[in-house]
């Protein structure tokens, strides 16, 4: 049998740093054959990018290959002298990196950057190289390659730019291509299209591909085989179907159970609400088989082992629910436990049974953690604001947004953009309103308007029926206390020179008017409630991990017993295993404190998991709004339909739904006339979509014209109806189209 196209054998990489050598990848072997895709999965710090770059003999100055070989069709790249590598890179080895915005040179046109490949590696003249580049872009399904090559990177959308970067990497038909999180920075609909193009092209060229990602859904869609990395070592490798169906390492199993699966059911229909839908019941059945309640995600306690103190035994042992004494004795090798399946786990056989799997999944419970009760020490303003949690109160919206509009740029100029246009929504107590949309949809702007950080151009916001002043500065401490926000990046939301304890005490002293002693006590209680050790009280934010920082940010938001917390992508900067514990925490706190959430995310599965109602935004307008199960079942708004079919599901056997949006060429943010979605709509009807704003179609059959102010439409406004869609296509027609599709 011929050797595989690309083969890494026993590779170890060390970084020399000021604080000593860091063994970033240890004794890793893998192989990829022609036309095959090996998915390399791991969280941050797993060493997957280091491994890939070391394997193609490209390491930073302080990086060193300690041992091992990396063969490309028999040729050991690591034995080649440095000066020979430029002849290999680009011609026989391709690379696509994560963010095309930073990976393409901003001062050169796309054409020039593509031409270089042909000129350098294929000995072509400028004109021939350009013809080749155009042909390649055409092959990727671009409608107008000549207009693309003339542009600079900033004039192209992220998706189009990444398609160009892929074309560049594959232009010379390399034998192996490294794809380093190529779709992570893209929107989900764009990601779906880019993945389709990539898969097609790779199959046609028979390239061996090493696909690096943290996203299990993407892996399920693109990979033939999967290798799972953790803390610089490989723990498991198997064919994609086998791995997802029956992981044979507890880390892999936990990783799979950390992410909410789209269609697994929402909190709104948990059994206690007594109306589980079809999907939920199926999911619940599946969950029961593995012994995990669907409402709670698995999470992996602990953190990566420190580089200077790696465990002697299994690298995952300190965090493993199945750990036994013999796991800690010596490092278990990766062995072929079943035909074509390798795992380092000594107890892999446990994972073959349902009971064993249930035992291997770590689900944090709230047991032992004191519930977050309303603070009794507060004096004064708490009494006038705090809502008492009760069944009847659920019907009264705690947060209500009426026709909020936020425009940027001078009126009547081309730069005038309505980032949010007439958004109305309401959130009852102890409920979550999920706001989904891609980048540029205006969801963050809307949250900032509600928080008072941006002044709305028009519209009103009510907190428990009380009208809120537009500016945060005018709202006064007791209003601030009742409406809090958790931001995407916990790094940016803490003063790096203020300890965790002080950051928590300040709002308590200012908004709740506690004295120093009581504030300290309460701050410690809050830390305990979010499961951050009390020893972190006197630490600075930089000494905390990302997940801990976000927990502290949540604790701070809850410091004043808020009625509403606005969560703006609170988990998207976190690793998968940490994400799930933050999601669980948010759900627990909501149950204990009766807080309402506005939960913003681009991740539909997370939104489904946490929300009771959902709004889908596109270019500043709400397109669809309603109860989560209704929004995620037909009839869909055509945009929701496209979003749903684009979400990569971590199940390689799932049939791919073929609704695809084309990738827009330009990066400019022009807002289309009529229905804003019409230029990309797969269900475009004709002129009516282009010329007229669509009406709201309510699930009870009523149709509210677009021009009528939503607040004037009576009690059953779109914002409050069970389900409303803003589309020219009647609901019955949508059901017919989507049922068939």
């Amino acid at each position: 049998m011929a050797p595989p196209t690309f083969q890494v054998q026993d590779l170890s990489v060390v970084y020399e740093t000021d604080s000593g050598p860091v063994p970033a990848a240890r004794r890793i072997s893998l192989s990829v054959d022609r036309g095959e895709t090996l998915g390399l999965v791991g969280e941050s710090g797993s060493g997957k990018t280091t491994l890939a770059l070391a394997a193609i003999n490209y390491l930073p100055a302080n990086g060193r290959v300690k041992q091992g070989a990396s063969r490309l069709n028999g040729l050991d790249l690591l034995r080649l002298p440095k000066r020979e590598m430029p002849r290999m890179w680009g011609s026989r080895i391709g690379l696509v990196s994560q963010d095309p915005r930073s990976a393409m040179n901003p001062t050169l046109t796309i054409g020039r950057q593509l031409d270089e490949m042909g000129c350098r590696h294929l000995g072509l003249g400028r004109r021939e190289a350009r013809d080749l580049a155009l042909a390649m872009l055409g092959k990727m399904g671009m409608s107008d390659p000549p207009s693309v090559v003339g542009r600079y990177p900033h004039q192209l959308s992220g998706g189009m730019l990444q398609l160009c970067a892929i074309a560049m990497a594959l232009l010379t038909h390399p034998e192996v291509v490294i794809l380093d999180e190529p779709t992570t920075s893209l929107d989900v609909t764009t990601q779906a299209t880019v993945l389709d193009v990539l898969t097609e092209l790779k199959t046609e060229l028979q390239t061996a591909a090493l696909y690096i990602t943290h996203n299990l859904g993407v892996i399920a869609r693109v990979a033939d085989r999967v290798a799972v990395m953790y803390a610089g070592e490989m723990l498991e490798t198997a064919g994609v179907k086998a791995l997802f169906a029956r992981p044979l390492h507890p880390y892999t199993l936990n990783l799979l159970r950390c992410v909410p699966h789209l269609g697994a059911g929402a909190r709104a229909e948990r059994p206690k609400d007594g109306k589980a839908s079809g999907i939920t019941r199926a999911a619940a059945a599946e969950a029961d088989a593995s012994g995990i309640p669907s409402a709670r995600l698995a999470s992996i306690p602990g953190s990566l082992p420190p580089w200077d103190d790696l465990p002697r035994g299994c690298i995952f042992a300190p965090r493993c629910p199945l750990v036994m004494d013999f796991c800690r004795v010596s490092r278990p090798p990766l062995v072929e436990v079943e035909p074509l399946r390798w795992s380092t786990c000594l107890r892999w056989q446990v994972l073959l049974s349902d009971e064993g799997r249930a035992q291997a999944v770590s689900v944090e419970t709230r047991a032992g953690v004191p519930p977050l009760v309303e603070d009794t020490r507060s004096r004064g303003p708490l009494a006038d604001g705090g809502l008492q949690p009760s069944q009847e109160a659920v019907s009264v919206p705690v947060l209500e947004v009426k026709d909020a509009t936020k425009a940027f740029g001078p009126a009547r100029s081309r730069a005038h953009v309505k980032a949010v246009d007439g958004a109305s929504l309401s959130v009852p107590q102890a409920r979550t309103f999920g706001l989904v949309g891609e980048s540029g949809s205006g969801k963050t702007t809307l949250a900032r308007v509600i928080a008072g950080l941006e002044l709305p151009s028009s519209g009103r916001i009510f907190l428990a029926g009380e009208s809120l002043k537009p500016s945060v500065g005018a709202r006064g401490p007791h209003m601030l206390r009742r409406l809090q926000m958790v931001f995407q990046s916990p790094d940016g939301s803490f003063n790096p020179r203020m300890t965790v304890g002080r950051a928590l005490m300040r709002p308590l002293m200012i908004m709740n008017r506690l004295d120093r002693k009581n504030a300290r006590e309460r701050a410690l209680e809050l830390l305990e409630a979010v499961r951050v050790p009390a020893s972190h009280f006197d630490r600075y934010p930089s000494e905390l991990s990302g997940g801990e920082k976000q927990r502290v940010a949540i604790a701070r938001a809850f410091a004043g017993d808020p009625d509403v917390v606005l969560c703006d992508e609170p988990i998207s900067s976190l690793d998968v295993s940490v994400q799930s514990s933050v999601i669980n925490l948010l759900a627990d706190l909501q149950e204990e404190a009766g807080t309402a959430y506005l939960f913003i995310s681009h991740d539909l599965a997370v939104v489904e998991h946490l929300s009771h109602r959902v709004g889908v935004m596109y270019l500043g307008k709400l397109m669809e709004i309603g109860e989560v199960a209704k929004v995620l079942a037909p009839p869909y708004h055509p945009y929701t339909e496209a979003l749903l079919s684009a979400v990569p599901v971590p199940d390689p056997t799932a049939a791919s739904k073929p609704v695809r949006l084309h990738v827009s060429v330009s990066s400019s943010l022009g807002i289309p006339s009529g229905c804003r979605f019409h230029p990309r709509c797969p269900r475009y009807l004709g002129d009516i979509c282009r010329l007229q704003a669509p009406p709201w179609r309510l699930s009870d059959g009523r149709v509210i014209p677009a021009l009528a102010p939503t607040s004037a439409a009576g009690p059953d406004r779109p914002a409050e109806a069970a389900h409303s869609i803003s589309c020219h296509i009647p609901l019955e027609e949508l059901v017919r189209l989507q049922g068939a599709g």
Partner: protein, 314 residues
């Protein structure tokens, strides 16, 4: 791009106007009475008054300013109070000399500085980088009269290759004057080189860390293509601004160098005018220098936009 240049040009005009006001106001609050200066301390009050009304000095300042600005625009820059020469022809003559010197110096230190900066960044922390970085820094510290005198001692006294004095004849052409320009230009270059080297080195080092340079390297491009096509375009952006500020200084600020070499440039003319309280000459030379500064920055903005498509296409 056209709109961009038009906007910048309007800005140039506005800056020139504002600075003319400042210059006019400043020269009017200078201590000393013009009439006394012209006629001497012994002149009678009546004679002084007559002169004042003759010169328009009794009118309100705003009217005087308008009058003066109109004359400047028409090309009538007045006569020097100390030498009686036509200010315009003297100033433009000196401007031409300064431009020649600036051109030679500019062609010496800008390309060299950029080259050394790129090399230092490419071989960062190597002995070569240390030599370039500390070497160029050493010359910032040395005053121009020290470097100038050292250069004269070496190239003119010891070796006898170049003239020690650069007192060129008025109206001599560039090539006749060229040998006299080398030493002063070298003096200025040694002082300015370090700014360009350090700026280029810092920005090149940043650009070398970017993802798109990694992309270029992993495309297998040759080192020259990476450095000159991919890196330099981006790393020159901050350097352009520093270089532009240097141009204004080259044209009007070389008072020490021009004095050491006895070179008839604009800098020495300004010094002369201030020492003599020669108001028309001060006003004309100062405004000239301001306009040069602003124009140099305009050119810098245009070069910046040419290098940076994100500004060019807005």
């Amino acid at each position: 791009m056209r709109g961009f240049i038009a906007r910048r040009l309007a800005f140039v005009v506005l800056t020139a106007l504002l600075s003319s006001m400042v210059v006019f106001a400043a020269t009017n609050v200078l201590p000393g009475d013009v009439a006394t200066m012209i006629l001497g301390r012994e002149a009678s009050e009546q004679a002084k008054d007559e002169l004042r009304s003759q010169l328009g000095l009794d009118k309100p300042l705003v009217v005087q300013y308008g009058h003066w600005l109109g004359n400047m625009a028409k090309g009538d820059w007045g006569d020097s109070l100390s030498t009686g020469q036509d200010v315009r022809s003297v100033a433009l003559q000196r401007l031409r000399n300064s431009a020649m010197l600036a051109l030679v110096a500019f062609l010496m230190y800008v390309p060299l500085g950029i080259f050394l900066g790129v090399v230092a960044a490419w071989r960062r922390d190597s002995p070569l980088d240390q030599v370039i970085s500390t070497g160029s820094l050493a010359f910032i510290g040395l005053p121009e009269f020290v470097t100038g005198v050292l250069l004269i001692a070496l190239f003119s006294r010891a070796l006898g290759w170049l003239p020690a004095s650069s007192a060129i004849d008025p109206g001599s052409g560039f090539f006749t004057a060229f040998p006299s320009l080398i030493l002063p230009a070298l003096t200025v270059s040694l002082t300015s080189l370090a700014y360009v080297v350090r700026m280029t080195r810092a920005s090149t080092a940043d650009v070398l860390q970017t993802d798109y340079v990694r992309t270029a390297r992993l495309k297998g491009l040759s080192t020259p293509s990476i450095l000159f096509r991919h890196v330099l375009r981006n790393s020159l952006l901050p350097t352009v601004t520093v270089v532009a500020a240097g141009v204004g200084w080259l044209m009007g600020g070389l008072i020490v160098t021009e004095s050491v070499f006895n070179y008839p440039g604009l800098g020495r003319l300004v010094l002369f005018a201030i020492q003599r309280r020669d108001l028309p000459l001060i006003q004309a030379t100062t405004i000239l220098i301001v306009v040069i500064f602003v124009l140099a920055n305009l050119v810098a903005d245009i070069v910046y936009a040419l290098l940076n498509p994100r500004i060019r296409y807005r």
